[in-house]
């Protein structure tokens, strides 16, 4: 009967602590949000399942000898996975709207205010008992306001790996909540007349412009902000593969095989950071609150900048497209379009909002690079 005893001691029930059980519940909750509420399912399903698997007692799947622990080491500690996803994002993104109207980059810039305001928010939260964020942790939380999953994972894996799980979950959850979070802010900050502004059609963009665009962005980044170069570099590389026209095979590989395989592995690996001692504490609540704060501020800043550009151009810019500057491609652009059509059903803002939308991707990568240069690692 010794074996029965040994076997009982090897069961999950005998070894399960409450933290693990709760975190398995959190994993199931994330999958529920993904499947039923359609919260970024491509990421939240693997993250949630990774949390489930890595909180199974005894098995050690997320440990140094387990599959997911090894994937984390190879793909996230090294920084490789978020960068490969950024390459795929570049290969999937059409920057034409931005090239046709470069001024929308300013909307992408304004929306990053959410990031820096949250930095202060995190420091202020330290005033409450139970919160004690370092500067690196504050910066990692703030980047949630960039509304860009891979950027958030990249920065957090460098500055605050212990918080990676909570930050990734918050980043993707809020990206999914864009259609809920943004519209009230957008309506509150704009007048009926502003929301009705019809923008003039964009000029067509030549192939040569689209091919030179990645080089212009990369070289400016290399000269001024090299710490953002890994992110911007892979983004522009993917975009060049897309636009080059002569490397179809590679473009398809970046848009499909690589990004899909990496997404599965990255999701599972991020899930391995959802352990009770790292996630079930007051700081996670702080991260969720600050993340929501960052999102709201970013949206508001984008809309305000849109209003400024509206005045400056004599009413040629609809301020609603400023909200798309947070990135969350293409959902934020769709939200801008939808809120616009509430006022005027015949006003199609989608294409106009794509400019600030993709500008937001560049803007948050730039902000991440800045934080890396100023704070760490």
């Amino acid at each position: 009967m010794d074996e029965i005893q040994q076997l009982w001691l090897s069961t999950g029930i005998a070894n399960l602590d409450w933290g693990q059980a709760l975190m398995m519940g959190v994993g199931c909750l994330l999958i529920y949000l993904a499947l039923v509420k359609k919260f970024e399912p491509l990421l939240l399903v693997p993250i949630g399942f990774g949390a489930l698997l890595c909180n199974i007692p005894v098995a050690g799947i997320g440990g140094p000898d387990g599959l997911i622990g090894q994937v984390y080491h190879v793909g996230i500690e090294s920084g490789a996975f978020p960068l490969l996803i950024f390459m795929g994002v570049g290969a999937l993104t059409d920057f034409s709207a931005l090239i046709a109207r470069p001024s929308t980059l300013l909307l992408g810039a304004a929306a990053q205010f959410g990031i820096f305001a949250t930095l202060i928010g995190a420091v202020l939260l330290n005033g409450l008992p139970g919160f004690d964020f370092t500067m690196k942790e504050a910066a990692s939380i703030a980047i949630i306001g960039g509304a860009d999953g891979p950027t958030a994972i990249f920065l957090a894996s460098r500055l605050a790996p212990d918080m990676l799980g909570a930050i990734a979950v918050a980043a993707y959850s809020y990206m999914a909540l864009v259609p809920i979070i943004q519209p009230p802010i957008m309506r509150a900050l704009t007048t009926q007349k502003e929301r009705a502004v019809v923008m003039e059609q964009m000029r067509p963009v030549s192939r040569l412009e689209r091919i030179l665009f990645p080089f212009v962005v990369l070289i400016l980044c290399a000269l001024l902000l090299p710490s953002a170069a890994p992110l911007i570099g892979m983004l522009t590389f993917g975009n060049l593969l897309r636009e080059a026209g002569v490397v179809e095979r590679l473009s398809r590989a970046a848009q499909n095989e690589i990004i899909n395989i990496v997404t599965i592995l990255l999701g599972l690996a991020v899930g391995s950071k959802l352990s009770a001692d790292k996630f079930l504490n007051l700081e996670t609540l702080g991260i969720l609150l600050l993340g929501a704060f960052a999102f709201c501020i970013g949206t508001a800043a984008g809309v305000v900048m849109g209003k400024i550009m509206c005045y400056a151009t004599g009413g040629k810019v609809n301020p609603l497209i400023g909200a798309a500057g947070v990135s969350a491609v293409p959902m934020a652009a769709r939200v801008a379009n939808k809120v616009g059509q509430e006022t005027d059903p015949h006003n199609f803002l989608l294409m106009h909002a794509m400019g600030p939308n993709v500008a937001g991707v560049i803007g948050s990568a730039v902000a991440a690079g800045l934080l890396l240069a100023l704070i760490g690692p």
């Binding site: 029965i4 359609k38 919260f39 609540l285």
Partner: protein, 80 residues
């Protein structure tokens, strides 16, 4: 370990092993039946909204998320 010890050991393994395989899968039979009957009662066919309908319902979700996590945190802190 000499040979007869190995043999006894392997007989033991067989009995325990098959016993547990059966026990585990029997339990799984029960749980699966329970699951199916619960689903049949609580969410009869075609009532499930999953994925087929482009649901527009995440309206209450942020509160959900924070509420559930807050509860989980509270529970966890009580235990430790």
């Amino acid at each position: 370990m000499n040979e007869s010890t190995l043999l006894i050991e392997s007989l033991r393994l067989m009995v325990i092993g098959m016993g547990i395989v059966y026990a585990f899968l029997l339990l799984l039979v029960g749980v699966l039946r329970l699951m199916s009957s619960l689903i049949l009662r609580l969410a009869p066919e075609e009532a499930l909204p999953l994925a087929t309908t482009p649901t527009q319902s995440p309206s209450s979700a942020p509160d959900d998320l924070i509420a559930v996590i807050a509860a989980a945190v509270a529970r966890y802190r009580r235990q430790h």
